[in-house]
């Protein structure tokens, strides 16, 4: 019997992957196992158990953060070969998106990135993923084994406490090129869970200066919303922390209300707000793409409309 081998540097993401793997296992006639790199805590083991792992391969000498993705890919590919893996399933974290394709290349096989759904068919594995900026979904068929896949997190629910998995030590000599980690500058992240926010006020490049974001902050405070943004606001401009950027390469949100202020609505942004219940956009340009992807398209200047809106809401809500 072959194996679906699961890896993530984040044990909770690994647990989610294990749930997905166990759903596929019967139709692929495979068992499931997780790979753990570096020291392993009780917490880590609990997370694997929650995902329903029966077996964890443990390679002690490799550390994802310290050695870098090439070394992780080497360990993953080696174990995959040793256990004759039919599939390598990696959580689509930032590191995962570096490790999975490198592993696929090492195994001379195909890779499907950031999938949203997987199915076994009689011809092989079928994977679904977003393409063309995320507004389209592609259905892919793997023609070669092993199947290397990364899967978006937040789609599978680990059930809680499974029984303790068996741990098998594996020793691997690492020869892949290593990185040298100089330092980590931790983000001053508010640790927000935008994915769970009910109301989101989101800002884009329509804001001219960082100080002007206070307009949006004030509005968000009055209605009790979280602040989100387009990628340039967090990325180039660094006005808000990375974990507030929404879209293809950021968070995918599903609030009751998504209020987009000065955001043009390129497809890569829209894909992140697709599951919002109501989308309202305020933009001076009635032809901006977001205006035809909104429930209410407000043609106006944020500098004029937003402060007035905040005042009106304060009155209406008695704040």
């Amino acid at each position: 019997m072959s194996t679906i081998l699961v890896y993530s540097e984040n044990p909770h993401a690994a647990a989610e992957m294990l749930v997905a793997a166990r759903q596929l296992a019967p139709s692929l006639n495979a068992s499931t196992a997780a790979l753990h790199l570096g020291s392993m805590s009780e917490q880590d083991l609990k997370a694997y158990a929650a995902g329903g792992a029966e077996l964890v391969y443990h390679v002690d000498g490799v550390d994802a953060e310290k050695h870098g993705p090439a070394c992780v890919a080497e360990a993953l590919a080696n174990v995959a070969r040793n256990v004759d893996a039919v599939m390598v399933l990696v959580a689509a974290t930032r590191l995962g998106r570096e490790v999975a394709p490198r592993t696929a290349q090492r195994l001379k096989t195909g890779y499907a990135a950031e999938c949203v759904q997987l199915e076994a068919s009689s011809d092989g594995l079928v994977a679904y993923r977003g393409v063309l900026g995320g507004t389209y979904q592609a259905k892919l068929l793997f023609k070669r084994k092993p199947y290397v896949v990364s899967l978006q997190t937040g789609r599978y629910q680990p059930e809680g406490s499974g029984s303790q998995p068996r741990v098998e030590k594996v020793s691997i000599e690492i020869t892949a090129p290593q990185l040298e980690l100089v330092e980590i500058a931790r983000a001053e992240s508010a640790g927000v869970d935008l994915e769970k926010a009910e109301l989101i006020v989101s800002v884009g490049r329509g804001f001219k200066k960082r100080e002007d974001l206070s307009m949006a902050e004030e509005l968000a405070k009055v209605i009790g919303a979280e602040l989100g943004c387009s990628r340039p606001i967090a990325g180039d401009l660094k006005w808000l922390p990375e974990d507030r950027h929404i879209g293809l390469s950021g968070k995918r949100v599903k609030p009751k209300l998504y209020l987009a202020l000065g955001i043009s609505g390129q497809v890569q942004h829209l894909v992140g707000i697709r599951d919002s219940k109501v989308v309202i956009a305020v933009n001076t340009d009635s032809n901006a793409p977001i205006m035809s992807e909104a429930d209410y398209a407000v043609v106006g200047d944020i500098y004029k409309v937003v402060p007035l809106l905040t005042e009106n809401l304060k009155k209406l809500l008695g704040r």
């Binding site: 953060e65 870098g68 890919a73 490790v99 394709p101 490198r102 696929a104 290349q105 096989t109 195909g110 890779y111 990135a113 994977a127 977003g130 393409v131 063309l132 900026g133 995320g134 507004t135 389209y136 592609a138 259905k139 892919l140 068929l141 793997f142 023609k143 090129p177 290593q178 990185l179 100089v182 330092e183 980590i184 931790r186 983000a187 992240s189 109301l199 209605i223 009790g224 340039p232 990325g235 180039d236 990375e242 293809l248 009751k256 209300l257 390129q266 989308v279 309202i280 009635s286 992807e293 429930d295 209410y296 398209a297 407000v298 409309v305 007035l308 809106l309 809401l313 209406l316 809500l317």
Partner: protein, 260 residues
């Protein structure tokens, strides 16, 4: 002196692709093509490194129907020359085949110290080509590079991860993959555009690359691509700011989106 390879992918402009009204398939033939967004950031970064340290910048591009005009655009920005493989057989290329072809083409270029890629392409957004190339050449790769500094011993890179910026060092040669954060690509001047017409574009045949049938056989096949529909009410509100703010506040309260 550093010699830099920049990988430029030509893709459809995804903002201009419209789905077929019935089949919902993307009407790719009707949308204009462009250089994938982040690849221009990769090119810009290569040019900045060259300006500082000297060397040469070579653009490489493979695909089933490469447009010369878009290659000239890269040369006008400042790339010294380009190597291109354009072959209909690559229409069905997956990430594996693309990486094998690119690597073989890069071997033809000769000496190089760095490969710069976009972190993800506009159409596929797979984040796979940079890491795959690095694996083929057995060299380090760093994705999400937001700042790059060349040092005597290699390259120092600021890499944006979930928890913050990781500062890492790698030896050369290496592959770096960048996004829109790293710089703002320059617009070529008229002078540069004119100069570009004299720069060499090397057309290399797929058959000249010495790739095996296995290396050219995709491991993943696309069975179907369909638009994901979202229905929105698309109500437009126009007027004076006071009216708009009034109306909007009422809507928010009436629809129960905000609570007292």
């Amino acid at each position: 002196m550093v010699d830099i390879i920049v990988c430029l992918k030509q893709t459809v402009d995804v903002n201009q692709v419209r789905p077929h009204p019935e089949t919902l398939e993307p009407q790719l033939g009707q949308a204009p093509r462009k250089i994938s967004d982040f690849d221009l950031n990769a090119l810009e970064e290569a040019l900045r490194i060259k300006e500082k340290h000297g060397g040469r910048v070579v653009a490489v591009c493979v695909g089933h129907d490469i447009q010369q005009l878009l290659i000239r655009e890269a040369l006008a920005m400042g790339a010294d020359e380009a190597y291109v493989v354009s072959d209909p057989r690559l229409e069905k290329a997956d990430g594996l085949v693309t990486a094998e072809v690119l690597a073989a083409l890069i071997r033809k270029v000769g000496r190089w110290d760095l490969i710069l890629c976009g972190e993800a392409s506009l159409d596929e957004s797979a984040y796979q080509t940079g890491p795959r190339l690095a694996e083929i050449f057995n060299i380090p790769h760093i994705t999400y590079a937001v700042r790059v500094e060349l040092e005597d011993s290699g390259v120092k890179v600021w890499k944006a991860m979930e928890g913050g910026i990781h500062v890492v060092k790698a030896s050369l040669p290496a592959v770096l993959a960048v996004g829109l954060e790293i710089n703002t690509p320059r617009l070529p001047s008229l002078l540069m555009i004119r100069a570009a017409s004299k720069k060499p574009i090397h057309e290399v045949k797929l058959s000249e690359l010495g790739l095996s049938e296995e290396q050219l056989t995709p491991a993943v096949e696309t069975l179907q691509v369909k638009a994901l529909k979202v229905e929105r009410r698309r109500i437009t509100l126009e007027g004076e700011p006071e009216e708009l703010a009034q109306k909007l506040a009422e809507i928010l309260v009436q629809e129960g989106l905000v609570k007292k």
